[in-house]
């Protein structure tokens, strides 16, 4: 049963990827819609970022002094100025580890 669900979930997921690329003609989307689509990265990724920082494993809001908030702020600052993906990720992780292992330990 679980196997069947995985296959159905996989087909469904594939359709989410394929529909707009293969089945929908670009001309069906108007000019106005195209300019709105410019915002897709900015409109989608914060929905992954925010909950991962501000909501804990139990589904409730973290404290204002949570190490993840601090790590995210460091990553934003480092990323903004360095324009480097590795520096962004590492600075966030290291400052987070510094807080949980050195300061709060």
């Amino acid at each position: 049963m679980t196997w069947l669900s995985i296959i159905v979930a996989g087909i469904l997921t594939y359709f989410t990827r394929m529909t707009m690329i293969a089945l929908v003609d670009r001309k069906m989307l108007g000019e106005k819609l195209k300019s709105v689509l410019e915002y897709v990265p900015s409109a989608v990724f914060p929905a992954i970022i925010f909950p991962a920082i501000f909501i804990n494993d139990f589904g409730s809001f973290v404290e204002m002094n949570d190490p993840k908030i601090f790590g995210a702020i460091v990553a934003v600052i480092v990323g903004y100025f360095s324009k480097n993906i590795i520096a962004t990720i590492l600075s966030g992780l290291i400052s987070y580890w510094f807080l949980i292992f050195v300061i709060f330990n």
């Binding site: 979930a9 469904l12 394929m18 690329i21 897709v40 409109a43 580890w97």
Partner: protein, 228 residues
């Protein structure tokens, strides 16, 4: 004009830094599946059949928590519905491809490959074989995802949870959007999406992941209207 090989290599290089978070996440994903008591083959098969990290974890957690198949499958579909938006953006650059190529390339459209290839596409609109960049980013992520989830299945709880490696996920996406913080319109759209995601976090089937982008895009269209 870049050759197919150059574009493919460029794709690999552009997405490689993100493996810093994709690989730990894959390991966690594999380990969680085994820890929850699932058949290791089944846990791995998901990486191949679904190929979507967050949705794989949610699926496993729901099924192990006793949710019905319908709920689990619906949740996967809703979490992954954001790909519709990626596809809509990418279709502009892929419209000249043959049908079969479109069908194959679609399988490799994931968050980071979309983000990096879209950035590249915007700057290099005139390249003839642009899609090779997407194949490069997509295949790199695919290979890393397969290997890392497999490692997680084999290593199991070897990776200490205290390390908090899950935190690498939001960091990857921060790296993707951080340069757009220079533009006030993008900042407004991002904050709208982020706050909506917190507000609708408890909406059924994890639907916050598509509700908040829709709200943010509505705000974006308002901004465009005001700009004129």
């Amino acid at each position: 004009m870049l050759t197919k090989k150059q574009l493919f290599t460029r794709g690999i290089l552009d997405i490689s830094p993100h493996m810093l978070s994709v690989i730990p996440f894959g390991i966690i994903c594999g380990a969680i599946g085994v820890e929850l008591g699932f058949n290791p083959y089944l846990v791995y098969a998901m990486s191949f059949i679904i190929f979507g990290g967050a949705s794989q974890i949610v699926f496993l957690q729901l099924v192990s928590g006793g949710a019905s198949s319908l709920v689990a499958v619906t949740s996967v579909g809703i979490i992954n519905s954001r790909h519709l938006l990626y596809g809509a953006v990418l279709s502009e650059y892929l419209e000249k491809l043959s049908y079969i190529k479109k069908l194959i390339i679609s399988y490799f459209v994931v968050d980071q490959s979309f983000a990096e290839s879209n950035k590249f596409f915007k700057k290099n609109k005139t390249e003839q074989y642009l899609y090779y960049h997407l194949i490069g980013t997509g295949c790199t992520l695919w290979v890393c995802w397969q290997i890392s989830t497999l490692s997680g299945i084999i290593l199991g709880s070897f990776v200490p949870e205290e390390l908090g490696l899950k935190f690498a996920i939001p960091l990857t996406f921060i790296a993707i959007v951080v340069q757009d913080l220079k533009k006030i319109d993008h900042v407004i759209v991002m904050i709208t999406c982020g706050l909506s995601s917190l507000l609708f976090f408890d909406a059924p089937f994890k639907s916050y992941i598509i509700i908040s982008p829709v709200i943010a895009l509505l705000v974006a269209s308002l901004i465009l209207r005001l700009k004129k």
